[in-house]
């Protein structure tokens, strides 16, 4: 099977979805690039390269480049979706949810409910999320944990190229608004990705390791680190389930609870700060619904309660490391 980066896998999903369905289009800043300039329009394809080639293939009507106006971009996507289009908007850094939050949360996410179920809003909004690039406090946040708290929005966090393609094709097929958070540290990571179109259902976790001693749930960029931690411990005979929920909303609670029932222990890993985040969310779930199976404290491994620092040394200390995950697993077992 061909090996592709996450960037290329998402790009392929966009190309295929647009070829298959006229109502799909992309919109955002520099999704074409070079508009109005002496350069060739379309030669950028998004600052992360995810919309490469779309302008050339589908033209300006379906590769809609915009000024820096994120509220208008999300609003335009929402409005187009209300009349039956399937826009895929790019908002670049996830940190920029701040400049379009109302359109995401109070508009797009609430239409269906507040209008009594009489509309759908099949818009996908893409973000590049997370740390690892010394991009400091305003360009490193994950933000998906915040967006998970809003009913009406679905939230996707792929951890590998294969999932990213299938989840993107599913996101575009969904009739609900979907926020798609691409861990930017993983754009260049690759794995086998089929050329055909395929979808991965929302709310269905991937079980990436199976073990007896502890359940580890991890999101996005942290899935790889959690796997490394688990593999290291396996050498000592400690074995863990590793669960990648893939979508934080809807969340596959059944898979998580089943695993915790079996192992009796839970460690949750995410790169977001600790308060009201996904690690607490899943810890709270298990502390209620798998309580009687629990054999040790539920450990959360996440960033500290600080913004993201700039210096590489600081950011390395900020993000959850393999060592910290190992310590947490040991912590719940002792």
């Amino acid at each position: 099977m061909p090996v592709k980066t996450m960037r290329d896998a998402i790009n392929e999903a966009l190309h295929q979805a647009m070829a298959a369905d006229d109502s799909v289009f992309v919109i955002g800043e520099d999704v074409a690039g070079c508009m109005g300039s002496n350069g060739k329009p379309g030669s950028v394809g998004g600052v992360f390269g995810v919309t490469t080639g779309i302008y050339d293939k589908f033209g300006p009507l379906r590769c809609v480049d915009t000024p820096i106006s994120e509220s208008a971009i999300v609003g335009a996507a929402a409005g187009a979706a209300l009349v039956g289009m399937r826009p895929v908007a790019e908002i670049m850094f996830a940190d920029f949810v701040g400049v379009c939050m109302d359109q995401l949360v109070n508009q797009m996410g609430k239409f269906r409910y507040m209008f009594g179920g009489k509309t759908t809003c099949p818009a996908v909004i893409r973000f590049a999320a997370g740390g690892g690039f010394s991009a400091a406090a305003q360009h490193s946040q994950s933000m998906y944990q915040v967006m998970t708290s809003f009913p009406g929005l679905k939230v996707v966090i792929p951890s590998n190229a294969y999932d990213a393609k299938g989840l993107m094709l599913q996101a575009i097929a969904e009739d609900d608004p979907v926020l798609f958070f691409e861990p930017k540290a993983l754009y260049q990571e690759s794995c086998e990705v089929p050329d055909e179109m395929y979808t991965i259902p929302f709310g269905k976790a991937a079980i990436l390791r199976e073990g007896d001693d502890c359940t580890v749930v991890a999101f996005g960029q942290m899935v790889g680190r959690a796997a490394a931690a688990i593999d290291a411990l396996a050498e000592e005979g400690i074995t863990c389930d590793l669960i990648d929920p893939r979508t934080s909303s809807p969340l596959d609670t059944a898979t998580i609870l089943e695993s915790v029932e079996a192992t009796g222990r839970l460690v949750v890993v995410d790169e977001s700060p600790p308060r009201c985040g996904l690690t607490a969310d899943i810890a709270g779930l298990a502390a209620d619904r798998a309580f009687h199976a629990l054999k040790g404290p539920i450990k959360q491994v996440c960033a500290p309660h600080s913004p993201t620092p700039f210096a590489p040394e600081l950011e390395a200390a900020y993000l959850p490391s393999v060592e910290k995950i190992i310590a947490a697993i040991r912590g719940t077992m002792s």
Binding site: G75, L82, V83, Q103, Q107, R112, F115, T120
Partner: protein, 324 residues
């Protein structure tokens, strides 16, 4: 301007329906019958009707917190609306939206919206869809004089110009945002010039005069349908009630409300013009009045009797339910 008799009759009926809907809603709110926050449109009827008379179901509007008039003008079912104000499960939004979130997608009504200037960007999206699909639909956003200082409104205007989409920005200037006069909130002296500087024409109309609004909106909509990009309409007319029901209206000058009702009434103006031109007889208009009164009576009676929502409905309609 001469309009076909049916247009005249329908326009009058729509304005009268809005007026009576609002006045009755007002009375029922005072009776404690209607829950929540309600913002009445009374006085501004010609704005909505003057614009929407140009639109078909394939064109869209998006509305505001003061949305009843826009929805009626665009053809929303009045009884379903009244039920929605009551919070019935038979309301247009099953009692989940209420006054601030009336919508009717079959009529191209993308919803009343409780966030000031929340609508214009969304409307640009609907206009963009028309452009991508290559049809001649237009997308109208209504928003108030208070909305024009909100970032989203500016962003939407510029984006519409950049993309050259058929978005119509209808700014309803009723002189106040809540308790603040437009002369304070808009820093510049000439809002029309500030808006036109974004790169599209704005047509101004007396919002107490259906014909003036109809004409201004016609120009704007024609511009947009012809593929010339966005356009604006400013409709200037005060509201007869407070910002919300219960507003003490400290901001009014002495006699301001009396003057509005007496000298700035689209229904009176319409009747006067018909009398002048002889296009419609006053008996015909009286007959419309009677029908509208009956309709609103019926709407209130049905709303009062309509079924109430049940607790299990709380968690329905958040997401699509996909077949098993």
């Amino acid at each position: 301007m001469t309009l076909p008799r049916e247009t005249l009759l329908r326009a009058y009926r729509q304005m009268k329906t809005i007026r009576e809907f609002e006045e009755r809603a007002h009375a029922e709110i005072m009776n404690g019958q209607i829950p929540g926050f309600t913002h009445l449109y009374t006085g501004q009827e010609a704005n909505a009707v003057g614009v929407c008379e140009h639109l078909s179901d394939a064109d869209t509007i998006i509305s505001t917190h003061r949305g009843h008039g826009h929805c009626i003008a665009k053809g929303a079912d009045v009884i379903g609306m009244m039920k929605e104000l009551w919070g019935s499960s038979e309301g247009l939004c099953k009692g989940k939206g209420g006054s601030m979130h009336v919508a009717d997608f079959e009529r191209g009504i993308l919803g009343a919206n409780g966030i000031v200037a929340g609508g214009p960007p969304i409307s640009v999206g609907s206009a963009l869809a028309a452009k991508i699909r290559g049809n001649t639909n237009v997308a109208v956003s209504f928003s108030g004089d208070g909305s024009v200082n909100q970032g989203t409104c500016f962003e939407a205007m510029n984006l519409a110009v950049v993309l050259q989409v058929p978005a119509i920005f209808v700014i309803e200037n009723n002189y106040y945002s809540e308790h603040t006069n437009i002369s304070y909130a808009v820093g510049c002296d000439d809002l029309k010039a500030r808006t036109e500087a974004f790169g599209f024409p704005v047509f101004v109309a007396d919002g107490a005069d259906f014909f003036a609004v109809y004409e201004a909106a016609g120009k704007a909509i024609e511009h947009a349908r012809a593929g010339k990009g966005p356009a604006g309409v400013f409709a200037e007319q005060g509201r007869y009630h407070g910002h919300f029901v219960g507003d003490p209206q400290h901001y009014r000058g002495a006699g301001e409300l009396d003057d509005l009702r007496k000298n700035h009434d689209c229904l009176k103006n319409f009747r006067a013009r018909m009398q002048e031109t002889g296009e419609l007889a006053s008996e015909e208009l009286d007959a419309v009045d009677a029908e509208v009164m009956a309709l609103i009576d019926r709407a209130v009676a049905e709303a009062k009797a309509a079924p109430r929502p049940t607790p299990e409905q709380v968690e329905q309609d958040v997401y699509i339910t996909y077949g098993a």
